[in-house]
């Protein structure tokens, strides 16, 4: 009887410890911060400045939207929504003409995002670009006033 009782106590203790494990394991995993520290989609890091050549561009993910980051011939950094305002194709930077071009229907935007030729009805939304510690940071254009 005593051994059965002892056995039960062990099982009970083991059960409690096991139960604590199943509770604490998720809790601790949860508290460990994920690689991307926060949910913020108001700004995004776009790599080192040195990695982007002059008169070139790259596409960066901003939340769910693609953004085209351009380093102009004059060493200016610009970022625009990369979805063409005509029929949503992804635009590209043309280093030869120094314009933003949409291959679908030959829409052309200037380096301020303004639609200058072809079907696009509206300019591209602009994003603000800053350099923090040699890293390019793209953020939503904040509304002033």
């Amino acid at each position: 009887m005593a051994t059965r009782r002892k056995f039960l106590n062990y099982v009970l203790t083991g059960g409690i410890i096991g139960w604590l494990g199943t509770v604490l394991y998720p809790v601790i995993s949860y508290l460990k911060p994920p690689p991307l520290a926060e949910a913020n989609v108001n700004s995004v890091k776009a790599g080192a400045l040195a990695d982007l050549a002059v008169n070139s561009s790259k596409i960066v993910k901003f939340g769910r939207k693609p953004v085209i980051l351009i380093r102009t011939e004059q060493n200016d950094l610009r970022a625009f929504a990369a979805t063409c305002t005509h029929l949503d194709c992804i635009v590209q930077f043309r280093p030869d003409t120094e314009q933003i071009w949409c291959a679908c229907h030959n829409g052309i935007y200037d380096l301020k995002g303004r639609n200058v030729s072809g079907p696009p009805p509206r300019p591209l939304d602009e994003f603000s670009v800053n350099i923090i510690d040699d890293e390019i940071v793209i953020a939503q254009e904040s509304e002033k006033g």
């Binding site: 009970l12 059960g15 199943t22 993910k61 769910r64 229907h105 072809g118």
Partner: protein, 429 residues
């Protein structure tokens, strides 16, 4: 004789002597400029006020007609003296009254001002002044010269007294209204009977990709009749120029096609480039079934079993189909991941990349080179496969959760059973 009458006289007689014409025109123009300051045209315009009173103004006289707005009185085109109240004197030949010009004379009538840059630039510095010259190169212009009374002249498209800027949405020549304006004649089979050309262009166009975009979606980026046929020099595009016309927007398609074997062959055989496969007015939404050798294929219109083109058609379709099925699979998985509430952001981007490759592959069809299309197809498949793999990871993660639950249940059940027996034991005490 008043200065007005003198100017008008000189205008009409000095038509073929440009040197004499310049000074009076300049004076006349300055008068018009002065006239602009007056807000009520009928104040200085007895033509208008009398005709208005008698209710015999021209039909569809629009108060915002651009000539009226700019201060060009009735006399400015029709001659006569607007300052004369008496009809006989106002409409005297000596006053330069011309009345309604004959149809044949209309281009010159309008061109009196519109072909003179020195006059027009006071109103709009960059306005073109080549309309009449262009017009006479067109089918309409040429036929008009030969005496045809049915073809379009300036007033048929622009109207005579309701002329609005092409940028004005109410204008008969605003892009959204152009198809209807052309259709007015070109859609009337009885009217067009002597010319032996089709009259179904509007209907074909309205059901086409371009027509739906322009007429239903109000997308002025889509071509209206004049974007392909020209404005004043309207002609059907010549055989060699069709690709160039389509290529204004469809740049890559044109470049690929021109550089391809098909492009050169088409030129040699005087075939109508883009039109051969895509049609002219009824350009339908393209489908992958236009390739290959099935019923809907356009390739088999010329190619038959055994020739290189036939084989290429099959290869092209295969390359594309492989990518399309990979993409569809990726998309299905993406939808599923979304539905079960797993992370779909990165997946969305991969899918977008695959979609880009698919669009490029479909454009590359115009090289008619299975190798190039194959390369792009493989690139697209890489993206699609990456998307599928990521989706699988998400779906797997979803099922891992259920396994985790099973494990937790086991531990909890052990504890429950242990407690149960402990209760039994304690109750016995």
């Amino acid at each position: 004789m008043s200065i007005h009458k003198r100017i008008i006289l000189v205008m009409n007689t000095g038509f073929f002597k440009p040197e004499i014409f310049i000074i009076p025109v300049l004076v006349f123009a300055s008068q018009l400029l002065l006239a602009e300051e007056k807000t009520d045209v009928s104040d200085v315009n007895y033509c208008y006020s009398c005709h208005a009173e008698l209710e015999i103004l021209p039909d569809a006289m629009h108060p915002e007609d651009i000539h009226l707005q700019k201060g060009l009185s009735c006399a400015g085109c029709h001659g006569g003296d607007p300052l004369q109240e008496d009809m006989e004197m106002a409409k005297a030949r000596s006053a330069g009254f011309r009345g309604v010009p004959s149809k044949k004379d209309i281009p010159e009538f309008c061109g009196k001002c519109h072909s003179e840059i020195k006059l027009m630039r006071t109103y709009q510095p960059r306005i073109p002044t080549d309309q009449v010259a262009q017009y006479y190169t067109s089918v309409h212009g040429q036929k008009l010269k030969q005496g045809d009374r049915k073809v379009a002249d300036c007033t048929n498209c622009h109207t005579s007294h309701a002329i609005l800027s092409a940028k004005d949405t109410r204008s008969s020549v605003h892009p959204l209204n152009v198809p209807a304006t052309c259709d007015h004649c070109h859609g009337d089979s009885e009217y067009m009977e002597p010319y032996g050309i089709p009259t179904d262009q509007y209907d074909s166009y309205a059901s086409s990709v371009h027509g739906v975009a322009l007429l239903e979606n109000q997308d002025t980026g889509s071509p209206a009749c004049n974007d392909c046929h020209g404005n004043h020099g309207a002609m059907p595009p010549g055989v060699t120029s069709i690709a160039h016309v389509c290529g204004i927007c469809h740049v890559n398609n044109m470049q690929y096609f021109s550089g391809s074997k098909m492009g050169r062959a088409f030129e040699e055989q005087q075939l109508h480039a883009c039109e051969e496969c895509h049609g002219n007015h009824k350009v339908a939404k393209t489908s992958d079934n236009m390739l290959g050798t099935n019923a809907a294929s356009v390739c088999v219109d010329c190619h038959s079993e055994g020739d290189a083109g036939y084989r290429a058609a099959i290869e092209l379709q295969t390359e594309l189909d492989t990518l399309v099925s990979a993409y569809k699979l990726a998309q299905d998985k993406f939808d599923y991941v979304r539905r079960i509430g797993m992370d779909d952001v990165e997946l969305g981007f991969l899918l977008q990349d695959a979609k880009q490759s698919l669009i490029k592959a479909r454009t590359l069809i115009h090289t008619f080179d299975p190798e190039q299309v194959g390369e792009m197809s493989k690139e697209g498949q890489t993206h699609a496969v990456a998307a599928i793999n990521l989706a699988e990871t998400q779906i797997h993660e979803y099922s891992v959760r259920r396994t985790g639950f099973g494990v937790a249940t086991i531990f909890i059940t052990i504890l429950i059973v242990a407690i149960f027996f402990k209760i039994r034991e304690i109750d016995k005490k």
